[in-house]
């Protein structure tokens, strides 16, 4: 019964224009772009080529061929990390420099590579999640085969100093990969200007279809494929091309570029309305993430003394997500909030708002009312709120007993 969707970091709805563009590829134009003996194949090839150009334009890639289509950004991240590591496995020692707040696709791919004796180094971040550039430079040495740092974080929205990172990478002669999934369509990015060697793209985070993404790979950079087969995509990603998905990604990229300025300005206004409203109407809240260098559609707020899942329940009809342990199946609170040292009791009461195209001022005002009421009600029920009022420090509070596990 969700009436208001405010979880656009998780995924976005398919744009009607994108669906319309995909329809021919889903119906009459069903050719395989690898078939060059007939018109079906030629038509499909033409559609894929146009989409490739559209995606290249979104990120400033000099040639359409620099775009390698994948099944999504998870695969793109895996290809970037494993592709480089495997291409350099002749080196006696290899290391990758990244951040503790990267997407799981980067972190888990890195963890897998550790088993192949690739060392993973984490550059320091500040309490907003911004990389410490001096520490980053200090972590690089002659065995560094890759720097992988996201453009913007999916939970706290913090935007990294991408160009400065690119300059450092270039100076050291180390390839620089960025997962730009959250930033595309919301923040301007240009692989040439920012010295980016690889960049991960996902269609469904920018109103395109699920199951399709891409990796920009700078010409000349050698990657070992992670999927072998017919040698598609400049030998870097085999498998018959997902033509409808690719057409959808192309159209979504074109729209993202076209609407970038107007939509990010609109989102920023909405976000500020939400943020100002929360700060004005609700006490004891804290913004997680960078105050200004943050995606225009992102807001991550800790509502002290209340738990996130119960607050989401209070916002019935609004699709939201939380950093609380209680909303995760693993019962761990968000690793991103942990990495930026948000204390557990605040991570517990953190909600993530991800605004998008369908959201209006009216939506923001409805959510503000629900939050204000919900927080008030839950704090009346909260023993932590009482302790705080009595001046007991919550982090040092001792409980008379600890419940056993299950």
């Amino acid at each position: 019964m969700n009436l208001i969707y405010m979880d656009h970091h998780a995924t976005t709805p398919l744009d009607a224009e994108v669906l319309a563009a995909m329809m021919p590829a889903l119906t009459s134009e069903y050719g395989n772009p690898s078939s060059n003996t007939h018109a079906y194949g030629h038509a499909a090839r033409y559609m894929v080529d146009s989409a490739r150009a559209q995606v290249a334009q979104l990120v400033g890639a000099p040639r359409p061929d620099d775009i390698i289509f994948t099944s999504g950004a998870t695969e793109a991240d895996n290809l970037a990390l494993k592709g480089i590591a495997h291409a350099k496995d002749y080196m006696p020692a290899r290391n990758i420099v990244t951040l503790a707040i990267e997407h799981k696709a980067v972190l888990d791919a890195a963890r897998r590579l550790q088993k192949e004796n690739v060392e993973i180094r984490f550059a320091a971040i500040d309490p907003y999640g911004v990389v410490d550039l001096d520490d980053l430079a200090a972590k690089i040495d002659k065995n560094t085969i890759l720097i992988s740092i996201q453009t913007a974080n999916s939970e706290i929205g913090t935007i990294q100093p991408i160009r400065e990172i690119g300059v450092i990478a270039k100076k050291h002669g180390v390839p620089f990969h960025t997962d730009a999934v959250q930033a595309l369509g919301r923040y301007e990015i240009d692989v040439m200007r920012d010295h980016i060697d690889m960049l991960s793209i996902s269609a469904h985070k920018m109103y395109g279809p699920k199951g399709i993404g891409a990796l920009y790979v700078r010409r000349g950079l050698k990657l070992t494929p992670i999927i072998d087969g017919g040698g598609h995509e400049r030998n870097m990603r085999s498998g018959t091309l997902n033509v409808p998905g690719i057409v959808g990604l192309g159209k979504a990229a074109e729209i993202a570029k076209r609407d970038l300025k107007s939509e990010s300005e609109r989102l920023l206004k909405l976000r500020n309305r939400l943020e100002d409203g929360i700060l004005r109407r609700i006490e004891h809240v804290r913004i997680n993430g960078h105050p200004t260098n943050r995606l225009p559609n992102n807001l991550n707020v800790a509502f002290a003394y209340v738990e996130g899942e119960s607050l989401i329940l209070a916002c019935r009809g609004v699709a939201l997500s939380s950093g609380s342990a209680c909303t995760s199946t693993s019962l761990q609170s968000s690793y991103v909030l942990k990495a930026i040292n948000v204390p557990d009791f605040l991570a517990h009461g953190s909600l993530r708002f991800g605004l998008g195209k369908s959201n209006s001022e009216e939506h923001v005002d409805i959510v503000l009312d629900l939050l204000e009421k919900g927080v008030r009600r839950l704090r009346e029920m909260s023993p932590l709120y009482d302790m705080a009022k009595e001046g007991v420090s919550i982090e040092s509070a001792h409980f008379s007993r600890h419940a056993r596990g299950k």
């Binding site: 119960s310 019935r316 699709a319 557990d344 517990h348 009346e380 600890h402 419940a403």
Partner: protein, 134 residues
Amino acid sequence: MMDAWDDYSEKVMDHYENPRNVGIVEKANGTGVVGNPACGDVMKLTIRVENDIIVDAKFKTFGCGAAIATSSMVTEMVKGKSLADALEISNRGVMEALGGLPKVKRHCSVLAEEALKAAIADYEKNRRDISPAA
């Protein structure tokens, strides 16, 4: 469409929306505060015992919908019960009374059982401290 509400039974949602016995019992003679190491939630249960009967019980809980609902349910279940009977209440019993909980939320009901046990233990300790065992 599904939302967070759909994971819970109607009864759970009723107790979440209209929790019974929120607060601190006046002249409580037993208090249990427990933390849930699994996810970090906290429940405080206060009871008033007279002649071995729990005459009043109130809770304060910081936790998920299931934690709030089980807290509310346990206060309803213990009222009017003898201490011996109250000690028989298990997290399973509380869950059943609520029409079940999603699997990942079962541990939340442990909080309620443990808070009850802690409150009764506290009551017994208080009693011993005031009038040393004869």
